[in-house]
């Protein structure tokens, strides 16, 4: 309920010209759109087509009346953009669309991994290790909160019930966990770039 209201608020602000609001929508949905687009186009084209979809969405934002959820509307734009891209590449678009939930929650046959090389695989593994170490080094209450959220997918209310603390505390713990992980990754990245 809150999430839909927040999206509506962001869309309204973006329609009124607040680019930060649209930026927030881009941040929130770009990964989902990428996954969707990756079902249609070559891995090398995913970013370009995703970007194009968001640009089209911004241009058409004045026409969005909120009859559906913002992501449902964005999903349709992304699918059409991907199909148009295939046509422009003289490739035949698929006859049937991809179910919106299927696109969001499944890894499209490893298509993201198609351009993975041994070098990038090592870098990826190292990065994953850094994140895992950062999580392991968190204080228990932070680690529990972030794992319940990210592994189990519990809501803040459910986590507050499990951890027997107020929702505000859950929110704070998850944020502090993420902040700590972010700092660890930045530290790793700086070491990499300095090496």
């Amino acid at each position: 309920m809150s999430e839909a209201a927040v999206d509506r608020g962001l869309v309204t602000r973006a329609q009124q010209g607040d680019q930060r609001a649209f930026e927030a929508l881009v941040m929130k949905y770009q990964t989902r759109v990428k996954k969707l687009v990756a079902r249609f186009v070559r891995p090398a084209d995913v970013d370009d087509v995703t970007q194009e979809a968001f640009i089209k969405a911004y241009r058409a934002l004045a026409k969005f009346r909120g009859d559906s959820a913002f992501y449902t509307w964005l999903y349709r734009i992304a699918v059409n953009t991907a199909k148009n891209h295939l046509v422009s590449q003289s490739r035949r678009p698929p006859n049937s669309d991809i179910d919106i939930e299927d696109a969001e929650f499944s890894d499209p046959g490893g298509r993201f991994r198609d351009n993975e090389t041994p070098e990038t695989s090592i870098a990826t593994d190292e990065l994953a290790e850094v994140v895992q170490k950062a999580i392991d080094s968190l204080p228990d209450e932070l680690k529990t909160a972030i794992l319940l959220r990210e592994m189990e997918g519990l809501s803040y209310e459910e986590i507050s019930s499990v951890m027997r603390c107020p929702i505000g505390t859950v929110r704070s713990r998850i944020f502090r966990a993420r902040e700590a992980i972010e700092n660890q990754i930045k530290h790793y990245m700086q070491g990499e770039s300095g090496a």
Binding site: Q15, D18, F54, E150
Partner: protein
């Protein structure tokens, strides 16, 4: 505390905190933090797909998208922009010249069109003080494509339709060639012709004084 971005990511941000979220986004590298949050999520959920793009982890498109939107100018995102008609954004080069130049170009195009029918008097100017309501009536008939034009005083991203444009540029609009006025008033019926819409949408507006 900068926890709003984190709560927003989880879909747990109260709508009442939206303004604070936007301030938070403006005050720091929110997109960067967001990517780190997603990275952690991908690792925890063992979703390697989110990590492997671009060699390290999925590239962030937020900055490039926002840069492109900023560079190409706000177009149709404005709430006051036309909603039903297709929006034809002005090229960036034209916008650089400013609105007066765009209006002048439209009037010149209309004058050229008029020249095929009757000569235009030299430098004659009609003074017009019609209220905005009359302008609205003059520009009302027949649906037509709208032209989105940026304006210095408009908020970022706000597209203006030509009616609002007229209101905001009244002193320029009041300088009308009488012959052009007469011609357009007598030939309003062809204004809905698709071929002349871009020109006559302006021409009809400047003719409002001679009803």
């Amino acid at each position: 505390m900068k926890s709003r971005l984190s709560a927003f990511m989880d879909g747990e941000l109260p709508a009442a905190e939206l303004d604070e979220l936007l301030l938070e986004i403006a005050s720091r590298d929110a997109a960067g933090s967001w990517r780190y949050y997603e990275l952690a999520r991908a690792v925890v959920s063992d979703e390697k797909a989110g990590l492997t793009r671009s060699g390290s982890y999925s590239a962030d498109l937020t900055r490039s998208i926002m840069q492109q939107l900023t560079a190409e100018e706000p177009t149709a995102s404005g709430a006051s922009g036309p909603r039903s008609a297709d929006v034809i954004p002005f090229p960036a080069q034209i916008r650089r010249w400013g609105l007066p130049a765009a209006l002048a170009a439209s009037a010149a195009a209309a004058a050229v069109f008029l020249g095929a029918f009757e000569p235009v008097g030299p430098q004659s100017v009609a003074q017009n003080s019609a209220p905005a309501a009359q302008m609205k009536m003059a520009s009302a008939p027949a649906p037509r494509p709208s032209v989105s034009v940026s304006h210095e005083s408009a908020p970022t991203g706000l597209a203006m339709n030509d009616e609002a444009l007229v209101r905001s540029r009244e002193p320029v609009e009041n300088q009308v060639i009488p012959e052009l006025n007469e011609f357009i008033l007598q030939h309003n019926s062809i204004a809905s012709s698709r071929h002349f819409q871009p020109t006559l949408s302006y021409a009809r507006v400047v003719s409002h004084g001679k009803r």
